[in-house]
Symmetry: C2
Subunit: 168 residues, 2 copies
Amino acid sequence: MSRLDSFIRRLEAQRACLDLAAHLVRELDGDVLELGLGNGRTYDHLRQLFPDRKIYVCERRLAPHPNCIPPAEFLLLGDMRDTLQVACELLGGRVALAHLDPATGEVAASRALAAELAPLILALLCPGGMLVSEPAIACDELSPVALPERVAPGRYNLYRYVNCRSSA
Amino acid sequence: MSRLDSFIRRLEAQRACLDLAAHLVRELDGDVLELGLGNGRTYDHLRQLFPDRKIYVCERRLAPHPNCIPPAEFLLLGDMRDTLQVACELLGGRVALAHLDPATGEVAASRALAAELAPLILALLCPGGMLVSEPAIACDELSPVALPERVAPGRYNLYRYVNCRSSA
């Protein structure tokens, strides 16, 4: 398998997971949160999946395709470890779907960042909200959801936020 | 169709065209030429398709994945308008398959560059050699080859070098 093969496979898995997550939150009120804009390809996909929802975007440094620049009022610029704390006031408990793709380019760095961000993301999700993520995140409040057909385990990850406190 | 959709479609078309071109040159002697290394994903794919051929690479500025750095003796660093002229002494008439993906990020700029590079590339191809390219190139010596199934016309391009002089 070449790097071209594995890149295509990852993008197909990413798209299939976003599509399924969008389906699973269709009856849930709430906003959408893109954690890492990059060139804006998945943001553009989210815009098409959610034409009627607010889509907030966290990004350290804007460098998207010119057609994929989020409106300023939905943009949280800066290190996510800082902006997600600020976002809590704005979005706490109101996000129906979040997508995390830190794209650090290094597996270990992405995992470490995801683990650090997880509690901040949880504070934003509404009960039953979905987190679509690569890398995987181990966390009691995130219940793994069966992946779409043709997506092998671990290639991308899909979680439902289970609010332990409210169900206790 | 989102930009994620169209990106996946382009990569799938690129891979299908490279695979088909590799099949079509299987009985042709000659080297392989990657015009534009980028992050090295298609270079890695070419390495797997052609484990026994020399793969030369033209690139202005090296920035590939660490596993995809070509050996120094196969690397032609600099502006392709210059390096392809130098390459003519080394490779003239000996390239069985060339892949052009200038990835300038702008359609018009890519087309203009491809048109400018076309005569330089032709000088390197052996008769019957294949050029896989995005963008399209209009040139009498390049005969369009039927695309793989599931690749729509124009999404990627496949040409066979027809040496008019030798067939005259």
